[in-house]
Amino acid sequence: MPVPVLKQGSVLIASIQAALSDRDLVELRDDLADRVGRHRSRGVVIDVTALDVLDSFATRTIRSIAYTAKLRGAETVVVGIQPEVAFAMVQLGLSLDGIETALDLEEGMALLQAREAERVG
């Protein structure tokens, strides 16, 4: 099941579903890299609220999405990591070093707006 991506102004919002397969994530990475260029997006929000597990593969791919988007000129914010998922990630030894995170979509959008204001202003 492909990850739906929504365009809201200069931001792309990807809402990840619960039963995310490895292939869906890799396709999302390629799709986002392409769309960031096409829509000249300044920000990407990856919403993982519905995701019940963030394992090593998912974390590595989300990191690579963020780095790819960055090279294409867009900031990425990961939003909605559930407390239990965060706890499991810490025990597993995973981190999202160097990647912005926010509690929910609203905060993520606010963070991107603040970044954009900094950049322009």
Binding site: A19, L20, S21, D22, R23, D52, V53, L54, D55, S56, F57, T59, R60, Q82, E84, V85, F87, A88, M89, Q91, L92, G93, L94
Partner: protein, 133 residues
């Protein structure tokens, strides 16, 4: 000993299936939601290793009882190439797959007991258990 489920692991979509079955079984056994997530994450790691390194195998999930305590045992087994140096494979950051090298040592941290047996040319078996709190 009851409620045993064998999940064949042959392609990457089976990883999601295994962790969903694991979560359901953990919930039925009375595990707290947090522990269900820890279990699902550990299952995801060992199942992915099967897909990545052995091609195919099985994940067997079973509720276990021992001396008055209850738990969930997970056995991931394959007839793949095996692991040459098991000690090295258990080290954080060691990967032959250009990955993070956190799957096995991480799964060990998520569970209460963890054993890795592997014979080169024969296969690999990970046995791990988490007990109800």
């Amino acid at each position: 000993m009851s409620d045993s489920v064998v999940v064949p692991i042959e392609r990457e979509t089976d990883i999601v299936c295994a962790r969903q079955k694991g979560r359901a079984l953990a919930a039925a056994a009375g595990f707290l939601s947090t522990d269900q997530t820890l279990l699902a994450t550990a299952i995801s790691e060992v199942a992915r290793n099967i897909v990545s390194y052995a091609g195919k195998g099985t994940v067997t999930l079973q509720t276990v009882q021992e001396g008055g305590r209850r738990g969930l045992s997970i056995v991931a087994s394959d007839n793949g190439p095996g692991i040459e140096n098991v000690e090295l494979a258990m080290r954080d950051g060691y990967s032959t797959g250009k990955s993070l090298g956190l799957g096995l040592p991480g799964a060990k941290r998520l569970m209460d007991s963890f054993a890795l047996e592997s014979v080169v040319g024969v296969g690999t078996k990970v046995t791990m258990t988490k007990w109800l709190r």
